[in-house]
Assembly symmetry: C2
DNA sequence: AAGTTCAGTGAACGCTTGTACACTGAACAG
DNA sequence: CTGTTCAGTGTACAAGCGTTCACTGAACTT
């Protein structure tokens, strides 16, 4: 993967005059992209400030103009990735979907978005547990928020109308964990997409089968 | 955690004559223990050969008498941890457990074993996705094996007698993922054990609720 | 036109890293 | 008793690390 890449991300194509802050933000994005590139093969904790800077096309010391540390860069990466995740859930929400078709279409949306933004999903799913320090903490926090949002979404379904908040949260949590597991399977095995999608659907189907019989206990 | 530990693991208490291979194996174990100690705070990929050697009480170059690389040490750690996991499942299997009590007692066994071998479980659950290279690969392989074993176990239950191998595998996979999620929750929040156990039970209960209604589709 | 701001530079620092190599001395085999 | 094996030692080196500091020059303000 990108063996002799040297993929300087700063484009030098156009000579149009750009403002200083615009150029700064461009470099910042180059740093984020560079880190996302490298993180796939070696994990975020195995990433050095120097190589990220080099990949972004700047000198190591210039890194500090944008982030105080690698951890700060990592947290920014979490935010960026979560934005992608939310885009996906919005896309899944606005789909017209019947009851049983819902699972099928949701998993399909997942597959599409994972393939379109492999880096972000890879980063989130991998560093969720594997990461250390602020990055894992940030993912944990954001994901907890995300589960709550999904719980609210679920509340709008007829067959979940009288579920308690706590129970909805439980269901949402189970769904998110299952989804993230599927994400990692999709990313680890590039070819067997159909099989993985089918397994994901079966997993969710089994979970939702229990829903009608669920009786909450305090 | 262990700030000024300097926990040399080689005991010098007894002067009993020990054979050379015995002493070697003792040092090897010291290396494994040292790595397990350090891995909790920084992740396996953030571990250096030198500090593991120091923690084990030997000079860096002596490391190579036992492992060709840190990756090899990591794989050995996977095997050791999996042995602990299998001990747990054996312990859960030999428990007399009624239908609904089964979930409760299984989760209880999980909690006990996690608390008794925090390092091993932490290592497995963390590096399962977060790790890189041979270690993650080894965990993936071993865990796949483990899921198959659990599927065989499940087949012995009356209410699963006529399930296909594939469906049992699906259920086992879902259980293992849920269990590992619970493990990480237990390890990340040292105090809220009861709450986490309760949530784990509810999760499994929801999953098993779907079982009676399950109809496999090709 | 003159002065200020600040993203990016380049040399230098003290440290840790993995690994090579020649060594020691106790456990072992004959 | 003699010679061999080999786990553990100590020194050494090149490479990479994060961070410091004084600097340059184009974009900005006045």
């Amino acid at each position: 993967m990108g063996d002799t890449a040297e993929a300087i991300t700063l484009s030098v194509v156009t000579t149009e005059p750009v403002s200083r802050q615009e150029r700064k933000q461009r470099t910042r994005q180059a740093l984020l992209d560079a880190a996302l590139d490298l993180v796939a093969e070696r994990g975020f904790s195995g990433l050095s400030l120097r190589e990220v800077a080099k990949q972004a096309g700047i000198v190591p010391t210039a890194f500090y103009r944008h982030f105080a540390s690698m951890d700060e860069l990592g947290v920014a990466l979490v935010e960026e990735s979560m934005r992608t995740l939310r885009t996906m859930i919005r896309s899944a929400r606005t789909r017209p979907s019947a009851y049983n078709d819902m699972i099928r279409s949701s998993v399909r949306v997942l597959r599409e978005h994972v393939r379109a933004h492999e880096d972000h999903f890879h980063f989130l799913a991998r560093e969720r547990y594997g990461g250390t320090g602020p990055v894992r903490q940030a993912i944990g926090f954001e994901l907890k928020l995300f589960v709550s949002e999904l719980a609210v979404d679920l509340a709008r379904f007829d067959f979940l109308r009288d579920w308690s908040t706590e129970d909805l949260h439980l269901l949402a949590d189970l769904i998110v964990t299952t989804m993230l597991t599927t994400v990692l399977e999709l990313l680890e095995t590039p070819s067997r997409d159909d099989e993985i999608v089918r397994t994901a659907e079966r997993r969710l189907r089994l979970i939702f089968l229990g829903v009608p019989n669920w009786r909450s206990v305090p």
